[in-house]
């Protein structure tokens, strides 16, 4: 195990040297992580402090990214927004894993009726545009809180993850070591935990990474439509505010958008990298 992780690390470092894009993505994700863990240390101001007479100020030395219509510092809001985006995305991934993991494992491992029922539901869910369901759910519940956005996103997105987990479980189920374990009389639970799960963990990690990027986009979309929590700084929220001042204060729109773009880009790059390392192994 240690050997493999050492090899992975070497592969990662080699990749960093060869690809500038990869290097950039790693640095960017690290920056975003630091921002979301320690925003109070980095942000120059409190994101909710309104500076009197400083509304819609263009970028300057005091306000690097400018200010919004009530005179709040954009840079500080962007830094705190990283925290919102990151934790909402992480929360949603955890929720979707909690549901998709048992459903996918059971459907794939036992097959038959559970599988049929589950596949029907998944196919139906695949027909609804996720964002449509999100709009309906979030508006109707007047949620406006991060917890409900996390719950709704996790609850809506799990079928896709479950589908992959089911497929992987189906593949592993036919492997010799599972058949051997069965013939030795181990319980189904034991086999799933000790033989199936460790063998399907790689695609799960890869998909969860890509889903992080999706959830950051979804959260931004929801907040952009005006359904986010107005008291918490978020990238999508800034875009919602900025939309009303596009002509007079374009910086409110430009900077958070660049942050969303670079973050989604970097996470996708890391996801690509992880899928190379984990699923294909190192050749």
């Amino acid at each position: 195990m240690q050997n493999i992780s050492k090899k992975n690390l070497q592969f990662f470092l080699k990749n960093l040297k060869n690809s500038k894009v990869m290097l950039f993505s790693s640095i960017w994700v690290t920056i975003i992580l630091i921002m979301s863990l320690l925003p109070f240390l980095i942000a120059p101001y409190n994101p909710n402090t309104t500076f009197a007479g400083k509304s819609n100020n263009p970028p300057s030395i005091t306000f690097l990214f400018g200010t919004d219509y009530v005179g709040r510092d954009i840079l500080s809001q962007v830094i705190w927004g990283a925290r919102t985006s990151f934790f909402i995305a992480l929360g949603a991934v955890i929720i979707e894993l909690i549901i998709a993991l048992p459903v996918g494992l059971l459907a794939g491992y036992f097959g038959s009726f559970i599988d049929q029922l589950f596949m029907r539901i998944t196919d139906a869910m695949l027909c609804i545009p996720t964002i449509v369901l999100l709009i309906i759910a979030v508006t109707l519940f007047r949620t406006q809180s991060e917890i409900s956005i996390i719950l709704v996103m996790g609850l809506i997105n799990w079928p896709w993850l479950a589908k992959t987990i089911r497929g992987e479980t189906l593949r592993v189920r036919e492997e010799d070591f599972v058949i051997a374990a069965k013939s030795l009389g181990f319980s189904d639970f034991y086999i799933i935990r000790n033989h199936v799960l460790p063998n399907i963990i790689s695609p799960i990690i890869v998909i969860s990474t890509f889903d992080m990027a999706w959830f950051i986009l979804y959260e931004a979309t929801i907040s952009f439509i005006g359904l986010g929590n107005p008291t918490i700084p978020s990238w999508g929220r800034l875009l919602y505010i900025g939309r009303g001042f596009l002509a007079t204060a374009p910086w409110v729109t430009i900077f958070p958008g660049i942050f969303i773009m670079l973050t989604v880009f970097s996470i996708n790059m890391l996801g690509d990298f992880l899928s190379d390392v984990l699923t294909l192994k190192i050749r």
Partner: protein, 325 residues
């Protein structure tokens, strides 16, 4: 055989539609608050008016009865009435063409561009052109489409003034003939451009990957050995096979395509189903939300059937047999 296939697919669509609509109905029902109260909050209506309205919209019946009544009414072409008393079906009828227009044109252009550049990049893999295109696609893939819309408005509408800033007025246009077409285009081009930029990278990546794979295949070597020109090799032999995974991708991402389309409609205030849905959801207009969701799912199912037919057409290995589905 084809007719039979379409018939069976449509039959299979019925349980899907029932699952989806009952799920949305359940969501609407468990949400706190009553649409009538939202409606009356503005006009401070009396208790009696409230009772009358609740009965008129059918909200006094138990929720499962409400759902089955709604389901039954679909067969008579009645999707209920909006809170403003307009039949939902006519609301949808006035919007659906705008959505379809935007979506069909943008998908057509996106696939066309992706095929052109994807084939080129895949054929010249490793070249500077390939690297540039791949990088651009990766970047385009990560841009939130609604943000791209805002930037587009900022540059081309606000700063340069090429396109109108406000909403497209629905059916109120007084101009006719060529001026009205130009006016229509001025509103259509911004959301169209953004959708094309948002969709093309996705298809491009797929097409490039499959072209790279296919160019190693034996029949390509054979075609080259027989002295076929580069153009023929890429655009006839390779492309025909590379289109198969692309078609699958379009089919499985229909939900994303519709969703993205709706968001862009909201950004540009394009009078399609997306703007209707968001407005209705905000006003808790139950039957409009149900109607738009139903039509969306129906459109997705119909598109997926059409894509399957195209799929069979470009991939002769697949035939509409009896047992596969």
């Amino acid at each position: 055989m084809l007719k039979r296939y379409i018939f069976i697919r449509l039959l299979l669509a019925i349980p899907t539609l029932i699952i989806v609509t009952s799920l949305i109905f359940l969501l609407l029902h468990i949400a706190p608050g009553n649409p009538i109260d939202v409606l009356l909050a503005a006009s401070r209506g009396s208790r009696e008016i409230r009772e009358v309205l609740i009965r008129q919209f059918g909200f006094d019946k138990p929720w499962h009865i409400q759902y089955f009544l709604w389901l039954y009414n679909i067969f008579t072409g009645n999707l209920g009435i909006s809170l403003h008393g307009i039949p939902v079906i006519s609301l949808i009828a006035s919007r659906v063409w705008y959505t379809l227009e935007l979506m069909l044109i943008s998908q057509f252009i996106s696939v066309f561009l992706a095929v052109m550049f994807g084939a080129l990049a895949g054929y010249k893999r490793g070249s500077r052109l390939d690297k540039t295109l791949t990088f651009l696609a990766l970047l385009g893939y990560s841009i939130p489409d609604f943000w791209l819309g805002l930037i587009f408005i900022l540059i081309f509408s606000v700063t340069l003034g090429w396109f109108p800033v406000g909403a497209f007025s629905l059916g109120l246009s007084e101009t006719t003939g060529i001026t009205s077409i130009i006016e229509h285009l001025r509103y259509l081009i911004p959301p169209l451009t953004v959708l094309v930029i948002a969709c093309t990278p996705y298809y491009f990546r797929l097409l490039r990957a499959s072209i790279v794979e296919i160019l190693d295949a034996d029949y390509i070597t054979t075609a080259k050995a027989k002295g076929a020109g580069e153009f023929i090799v890429i655009y006839k032999h390779a492309l025909k096979n590379a289109l198969v995974p692309l078609t699958t991708a379009v089919g499985t991402s229909l939900g994303l395509i519709f969703g993205g389309n709706y968001i862009i409609e909201v950004v540009f205030a394009w009078p399609g189903l997306g703007t209707l849905l968001v407005a209705a959801a905000l006003a808790r207009d139950y039957w409009v939300v149900m109607g738009v969701s139903f039509i969306t799912v129906l459109l997705i199912i119909i598109s997926s059937i059409m894509i399957d037919i195209v799929y069979a057409y470009i991939n002769p290995k697949i035939r509409f047999g009896g047992a596969e589905y």
